[in-house]
């Protein structure tokens, strides 16, 4: 089960610990989820950007799949969901970027 970090701004980061690490670190009688939570401070110390983040373990099935709205992912009631109340991003789509580049090329070709 992945570790989900809730950042101070409400966004989430999803960490997957490598199986080899979990196998090596899992204590006797400890579940995988318990091992992951125990290792969370270790990962946090190694990753300066995770300062201030709060870790929780979330079932893989309860993590949103729609990566096109990755910026809207939020942890709500033990699940990572797409929060539609968050405004749409202003970044351009791939098609828009290609159209822009093609327009630039056409401009350059103009005598």
């Amino acid at each position: 089960m992945p570790l989900v970090w809730t950042m101070p701004d409400g966004s989430v980061r999803v960490t997957r610990l490598l199986d080899a690490i979990l196998t090596r670190e899992q204590g006797t009688g400890e579940t995988r989820a318990e091992t992951e939570l125990r290792l969370a401070p270790w990962i946090q110390r190694k990753t300066p950007a995770l300062a201030g983040a709060v870790a929780s373990v979330v079932d893989e099935a309860k993590i949103a799949r729609d990566r096109s709205k990755r910026y809207k992912w939020r942890l709500r009631n033990g699940a990572v969901v797409v929060d539609e109340t968050i405004p749409d991003a202003t970044t351009t789509t791939l098609e828009q970027r290609i159209a822009t580049l093609e327009a630039d090329v056409a401009t350059l070709k103009t005598p």
Partner: protein
């Protein structure tokens, strides 16, 4: 007179007047000298010297020949000098101290065994293996999956999906400083679009690195598969 003697710094003189043999240890010169009936001879202490007796008298001193090794021949038997040209592993007899494997022979480590090369000193020997040129970590992962999945990896503890095309790789064994070298590639799902991996400014630490995958000439990040990263540096 005993059998199988080993000489150290202790003052020592062995003599067999009937055979006209005399050995003595010159501690100041760290040299074993012996008189063979005609003249005094010397040998260097860094070489092995085989001293043989018949149980009562000293009957011979044999320094062997260049390239030979002193081989044990079993309990109760004298060791002997033997040429080792037929062996798969040979040790250089000069001061270079190299160890050679015969052709088509492999150096195989047992489980959990490893070889730790020394740090380079001076100009590297061509094709030499040093601790500086050993890749310390690498990973290939799918950054487009629901949660990031590592396909293959070495010395990686975890991978974090920070945002679209934005990942943090955490090392199992940290680097000694944050100034290590990395090479990264990524591939977009739609073929024909050039991509690049960038390290996020200020986000390369001893224990992790944050990277972003971009389309060329664009600031926008994209989920890539695979994302490949190799790191080299001091640990």
């Amino acid at each position: 007179m005993g059998r199988g003697m080993f000489f150290r710094d202790d003052p020592l003189v062995l003599s067999d007047p009937e055979a006209d043999w005399t050995l003595c240890w010159d501690a100041s010169a760290r040299t074993l000298k012996f008189f063979d009936g005609a003249a005094w001879r010397s040998t260097c202490v860094t070489q092995y010297l085989l001293v043989v007796s018949d149980g009562t008298n000293l009957i011979g001193v044999d320094a062997g020949s260049a390239g030979q090794h002193l081989i044990a021949t079993g309990a109760g038997s004298y060791p002997s000098w033997q040429t080792c040209s037929g062996y798969d592993i040979t040790a250089d007899q000069s001061n270079v101290g190299s160890l050679s494997l015969a052709a088509n022979k492999n150096l195989v480590m047992s489980t959990c065994g490893n070889m730790v090369p020394a740090a380079v000193s001076g100009t590297p020997t061509e094709h030499g293996l040093y601790r500086e040129n050993v890749p310390k970590a690498w990973v290939s992962f799918d950054g487009s999956a629901g949660t990031v999945i590592a396909d293959n990896h070495f010395n990686v503890a975890s991978i974090t999906d920070n945002a679209t095309g934005d990942y943090t790789v955490t090392w199992d064994r940290d680097f000694t400083c944050a100034f290590y070298a990395m090479v990264g590639t990524c591939q977009e799902q739609d073929a024909g679009v050039g991509t690049a991996v960038n390290v996020v400014a200020g986000a390369q630490a001893v224990g992790s690195v944050q990277i972003r995958c971009h389309i060329f000439n664009s600031a926008a990040e994209l989920d890539a598969n695979p994302v490949n990263l190799v790191a080299l540096g001091d640990q």
